[in-house]
């Protein structure tokens, strides 16, 4: 025990809400960490991973309390040590980085004051010395022009730069342990990668131990030594990173891996899902917390709580009565689960409350019916642009060149009937604006949008109303897109009522059919949207989008707010319904893995431009544009042995209010020349027909590294 830096023993944390309802957020957590070691804690939302991280420094939210167990750090029990003693440790020997770099910085204090603050608290340095050290730390975390930045305020920095500031604050006293709670979740992929690299490098240089908390298996794969998987407030499995990724043994871990779209690159294959939802922690569940959702659960799982059994040789500990054997690889265990999940009747009988949560769809469609993809063009965009005035308001003159944001700058693409067209790009690239124009929420500034060979920008009011039936939108946050004062029945009836489809009996019949389609019980019509979970709300959102039997559904980040297992359910549902109803999707997402899994064709957007389009398998396998290549190289593959990325993207996306001249990507492009600054590259198809790229110097093929 003495060689451990941090030991958490049997930690219990309760959180009492406003109305006195108590959640047993942590229920007996054991963890340990050696000096210099990196531990990853993974799990889905509500599993207790963040609470574990917060309880180390006793930074639990209001109403949160450590009710049992010990947190030994360097011989001190942090769970019971007085507040004053704990203050000497916070920010000094243990530093902490939080998820949202905007809200976790004080908006009215300068960067310098905030980074120097821990030094003034914990060291004897004078203010001048502390500021000098703070500036040095800013330089260390890769902040450009640190001297100038010291006097800036947080809102003047980009998200990635703010997170660098947060890291500088945590590291300025050179702590022995860094706790990072979802440090990259709020950031774009390329920025995410830069921050993770930075943390890695600093950890090495300063010899710190680290706890990295994340929901993203890809993030921890190459960043930590050991991994703890949490479920329902307990540790389900704990192992060194390689064995865990190679042979996960807990049935939950296995299912989690199986639900990753990255592991099922073949879009035709159904993603493996975990039925139901994580347990409510308001009451202590009896038995194994995963048992209600587990295909292997037996009587003992429902009555007794499994204790972790540790293989002392490998350090692989599993709290499961029926663990997958160490000899069984991930693939093998996946097949077993496949059977378990596919057998819907079993889940219905085993899971008690959750069976009602998400019903198996009554008639499963003939599996793997070939998607009815045709060559018929459904949607064609030609030179579509959208500009917004930068500063609104009646007192500001408009339409001067500098006062405009060019959100979408000349996009042409074609979506065929029955296909899924994926749009990928980082935040601010204009992908959502594009979606809003396609559904008709916004009018393009110029260019044409033709749907089924009709220009939708010139439709009369009556025609537009009829056209609405054809194109529907699935929102990222379906909850916000439903009137909170309406019951689900009224919400689903609204499109039918507006379009005057059927009498009330017919409408009721249709609504029941829609609920069947998305796997929700028909009794849902009497409920309000707030009574549903995130995944169920997305099902409702999809049901409403399908009410008018559209031929195109624009889905704007439909799964980005969901946990992996629920995400897989929604993706499967979308794909099944597509086959059943011959739908086309315009699928907008920042998540390459999700798009790769679902899309037939893909378009990559950067700063309002479509830099590359083509068949999904070609674009992902042989990207032609350096940006696409960079994105693919930056993705954190959930594989510890993935070769480090070739050329991850450096720098940050410039502002759309002042885009670079010529090629908009040139400021971050490794092979940019004079030509790129002066001339905008025209789209070309240098390799195969249908695979277009807008680049003066397209990559000459070659598979993406690391796969």
């Amino acid at each position: 025990m003495t060689d451990k830096l941090l030991t958490i023993e049997d930690l219990h944390v309760d959180i009492t809400g406003r109305r006195g309802r108590t959640i047993h957020a942590l229920d007996g957590v054991d963890l340990d960490l050696a000096p210099g070691e990196a531990l990853g804690i993974v799990g889905e939302s509500g599993c207790g991973k963040t609470m574990t991280a917060l309880s180390v420094l006793r930074l639990l939210p209001n109403g949160g309390k450590v009710t049992g167990g010990r947190i030994l750090f360097d011989g001190t029990d942090l769970a019971t040590t007085p507040e004053t003693a704990l203050r000497d440790i916070r920010g000094n020997t243990i530093g902490m980085v939080f998820q949202d770099p905007l809200t976790s910085l004080n908006p009215t204090l300068t960067i310098g004051a905030q980074v120097a603050e821990p030094l003034l608290l914990h060291t004897e340095l004078t203010k001048t010395e502390a500021w000098a050290k703070a500036e040095e730390t800013l330089r260390l975390v890769g902040m450009p022009r640190p001297t100038e930045r010291m006097r800036n305020y947080p809102h003047q920095l980009s998200g990635g730069m703010r997170q660098r500031v947060a890291i500088a604050m945590a590291l300025v006293c050179e702590p022995r342990l860094l706790i990072a709670d979802e440090p990259t979740t709020a950031l774009d992929v390329t920025t995410q990668h830069q921050i993770l690299e930075l943390i890695d490098e600093l950890r090495e240089r300063l010899g710190m131990a680290m706890i990295l908390v994340t929901h993203d298996l890809g993030v921890i794969a190459r960043r930590v030594d050991r991994v703890a998987v949490m479920y329902g407030g307990r540790i389900a499995e704990r192992a060194p990173v390689r064995p865990l990724f190679a042979t996960p043994r807990h049935r939950y871990t296995q299912a989690l891996f199986a639900a990753l779209p990255e592991r099922t690159t073949d879009g035709a294959r159904t993603l493996l899902t975990i039925p139901g939802l994580p347990p409510s922690l308001a009451t202590r569940p009896v038995g194994c917390r995963f048992a209600p959702r587990c295909g292997f659960a037996t009587e003992i799982c429902r009555t007794a709580e499994p204790e972790p059994t540790c293989d002392s040789g490998t350090g692989h500990a599993v709290a499961c009565f029926h663990p997958g054997g160490p000899e069984a690889g991930a693939a093998a265990s996946v097949d077993v689960i496949d059977v378990a999940v596919g057998g819907t009747e079993t889940t219905e009988t085993t899971a008690t409350t959750e069976a009602a949560e998400v019903r198996p769809r009554p008639e499963q469609p003939a599996p793997a019916a070939p998607p009815e993809r045709t060559e018929e063009t459904l949607l064609r965009l030609v030179g579509v642009t959208k500009s917004y005035p930068l500063h609104g308001g009646p007192f500001v003159r408009r339409r001067t060149a500098a006062s405009q944001v060019s959100a979408v700058a000349g996009i042409s693409l074609t979506v065929r009937r029955g296909e899924t067209f994926g749009i990928v790009g980082e935040s601010g690239c204009g992908k959502s604006t594009l979606g809003r124009m396609v559904v008709g929420l916004e009018a393009p500034t110029s260019g044409t949008i033709r749907f089924a060979d009709r220009d939708i920008t010139t439709l009369t009011k009556r025609e537009l109303r009829a056209h609405r039936r054809e194109v529907q939108l699935m929102f990222q946050d379906s909850y916000a897109a439903m009137d909170p004062r309406m019951r689900v029945g009224a919400i689903l009836r609204e499109p039918l009522a507006i379009q005057r489809i059927g009498d009330s009996a017919e409408q009721r019949r249709r609504i029941a059919g829609l609920l069947d389609d998305v796997g929700l019980p028909r009794g849902s019509v009497n409920r309000y949207p707030h009574e549903f979970s995130g995944g169920q709300r997305q099902r409702l959102g999809l049901a409403r989008a399908l009410a008018l039997a559209p031929s195109l559904v624009v889905a704007d980040e439909p799964v980005s707010a969901l946990d992996v297992s629920v995400q897989a359910q929604i993706l499967n549902l979308m794909r099944d319904l597509q086959r059943e109803k011959g739908l086309s999707y315009l699928f907008i997402s920042h998540d390459l893995a999700v798009v790769r899994h679902l899309a037939d064709s893909v378009g990559v957007m950067y700063l309002g431009k479509l830099v590359e389009t083509g068949p999904a398998e070609r674009v992902f396998a042989r990207p032609l544009h350096p940006y696409t290549r960079g994105l693919l190289d930056t993705v954190n593959a959930p594989d510890p042995d993935a070769t480090p990325a070739g050329t991850p993207l450096a720098g940050e996306t410039p502002s759309a209010a002042a885009p670079p001249s010529g090629c908009r990507f040139r400021t971050r492009c490794p092979s940019a020349t004079e030509l790129c600054a002066t001339t905008e590259p025209p789209p070309a198809e240098p390799e195969t027909p249908g695979h277009r790229v807008a680049c003066h110097f397209p990559l000459s093929g070659g598979a993406v590294g690391g796969r």
Binding site: N62, R90, N92, S104, N106, L109, L121, H391, F395
Partner: protein, 316 residues
């Protein structure tokens, strides 16, 4: 900030113009029109017709408005027909005194309300919080004049501690030398604002305490007291500047009542006396000035806010 300021000043100018329109409309609502109001009740119809022609009141309304605006801009607010003095000179005497009373009340309110609000936030859900919340509700519901009467009954009549009449000196300096006599008027005018500001401070501090930057500060090892002083208050109190501007109309309404109760020789008393005597030029002149003062006051507080908040200050 330049953009914010130009926009805000343009807005204030528009509002000022509209205030003058409102007063102009009121002028025309007077019984018998402006002529009757200016010449008095005894004026003959001939005199009124003559006056109307002479002053241009027989022209179209827009023309009249332009003339009216011209007179306003040259500082001509008409003449009191009770006090034999121009409204402008009356206001010149009275306005500074009202400004003094309002300023003292505002200062007292801010000095008391902020600590009270912080106390409530820190002791949230405890006895002190409930007690002060109850007091604030009571203060909201108490009309200024009832409060003034109770204070007079208790401190002036029963305890004989403080005079029931405000200082009567002609100069500001003279008023300030008679501090005991200022206590009751200032306290009466301040109480409602104390209630409002302390409620605001309480909720702003509570909101900020649940912000994530507070958790960050705790993670650095800051003590609760210093988190409050260094992080929370800065963020919670900057918006108080705009709240100050929003409360100016209430404050002026309060001084109207307080001045007439305590016989304080300010703009409010002038106004009240004019209302009793139907001295319309004075009534409208004071109304206009009160409106202008509010607009300019809230413009100033908004500028102060922009200067204090780096998020606005640093945006060009």
């Amino acid at each position: 900030m330049i953009r914010f300021l130009t926009k805000r000043i343009a807005q204030a100018a528009t509002v000022l113009l509209l205030v003058s329109v409102i007063v102009f409309v009121l002028l025309h609502m007077l019984p018998g029109g402006p002529a009757r109001a200016i010449l008095g009740v005894q004026a003959t119809p001939e005199a009124i017709a003559h006056f109307n022609h002479q002053q241009g009141y027989d022209r179209s309304l827009p023309q009249q408005y332009v003339m009216y605006l011209g007179r306003l801009l040259s500082g001509d607010l008409g003449e009191s027909y009770k006090l034999n003095q121009t409204v402008a000179s009356l206001l010149g005497e009275r306005l500074p005194k009202t400004a003094l009373l309002a300023g003292l009340a505002l200062t007292l309110a801010a000095l008391l309300a902020v600590p009270l609000g912080i106390l409530q936030a820190v002791r949230r859900g405890k006895a002190a919080d409930y007690l002060l919340t109850g007091a604030a509700f009571l203060a909201y519901a108490t009309p200024v004049f009832f409060l003034g009467l109770v204070l007079i009954l208790v401190f002036s009549q029963q305890l004989q501690l403080l005079p029931a009449e405000a200082p009567q000196a002609d100069t500001l300096g003279g008023i300030l030398t008679d501090l005991p006599a200022l206590v009751l008027p200032v306290v009466t005018a301040a109480l409602g604002i104390i209630a409002a500001f302390s409620r605001y401070t309480r909720s702003a501090v509570l909101d900020n305490l649940s912000e994530e930057y507070v958790r960050t500060a705790r993670a650095k090892g800051q003590s609760n007291a210093r988190i409050m002083a260094r992080h929370v208050l800065r963020n919670a109190l900057i918006p108080l500047a705009t709240l100050l501007g929003l409360h100016l109309p209430t404050l002026f309404s309060g001084t109207l009542v307080v001045e007439s109760m305590f016989n304080y020789p300010g703009m409010g008393l002038l106004f009240w006396n004019a209302a009793q005597g139907s001295d319309f030029p004075v009534l409208l002149g004071v109304t206009l000035v009160a409106g202008v003062a509010t607009v300019l006051g809230s413009l100033l507080t908004d500028i102060a806010y922009a200067v204090l908040d780096p998020r606005i200050r640093s945006v060009t």
